[in-house]
Amino acid sequence: MTPLERYLVVAALLFGVGLAGALTRRNAILVLAGIELMLTAANLNVVAFWRHGGHGDATAGVMFVLFIIAVAAAETAVGLALIISIYRHRRTTHLDEVDTLKG
């Protein structure tokens, strides 16, 4: 396995774990954590390609990931605020109990 492939495989496994958590966990906070894991896997891919993918812009990979981290931080802040707001209204953070719109 080349160095690049090792990183890609680890990132794929991390993405899979995050996806499984985001799809199956009942608690909304952990669904958000699963999304964070998937974002980290994507960042790992970007940096691995930047380092091992041949020539290109010397700073592009780092810049991409820096901006992704900033957007992820904003997303987490808003997501957790939403969860706290839902908890205040419904007294639960379980996603299967927040189903008022369900027909």
Partner: protein, 172 residues
């Protein structure tokens, strides 16, 4: 390099599995910290030092703490009873396993990238700062605006409605 990679990769995956499968939410948050530290270690191995420190500052310093705060605020810390996952959890795990399998197979069976010898010299923090202030200055300003808007939005969302009283009760 090899030993360090194995250690960080193992810690990363073990922490991720623990974060997604443990019952106690505080334990999950602590496992997330392990995952983020290991990812920072992998960034360090890949030669992205600045990114590694940014990862520790943002993820471990801010996001993990936010998750712990949300856990405590929603009173989920002691909630160890009840089902952990949705009922057809096998469906979700199967989907995730299938996606992972496809990606890993694609990575292992794809043609290797043409390696152009050693890559260019790693950028120093000075170069990164100069790039941020020249070529990437517009994205940087947009990100600053986005962060400001997101934080104001988060505060507005999480603020208690109607002054000191409780929030509105849901309609029966």
């Amino acid at each position: 390099m090899d030993a360090a990679f194995s250690i960080f990769a193992l810690l990363l995956l073990a922490g991720a599995v623990a974060a997604m499968s443990l019952r106690n939410l505080i334990h999950c948050a602590l496992s997330l910290v392990v995952v983020f530290f290991s990812a920072a270690g992998l960034f360090l191995l890949l030669g992205a030092e600045f990114l590694s420190f940014a990862q520790v500052m943002v993820y471990v310093g801010a996001i993990a703490i936010l998750i712990v705060f949300a856990t405590l605020l929603t009173g989920s810390a002691g909630a160890t009873t009840g089902a952990l996952a949705f009922r057809p959890w096998l469906l979700g795990v199967g989907t995730a396993g299938w996606v992972t399998g496809v990606i890993v197979a694609a990575v292992l069976n794809g043609r290797p990238l043409p390696v152009e010898g050693k890559t260019a010299a790693l950028p120093t923090v000075r170069q990164l700062g100069e790039a941020l202030m020249t070529r990437y200055v517009l994205p940087l300003e947009v990100i600053g605006l986005l962060l400001t808007a997101a934080l104001i939005g988060a505060v507005v969302l999480a603020l208690r409605e109607g002054g000191a009283g409780r929030g509105k009760e849901p309609r029966p």
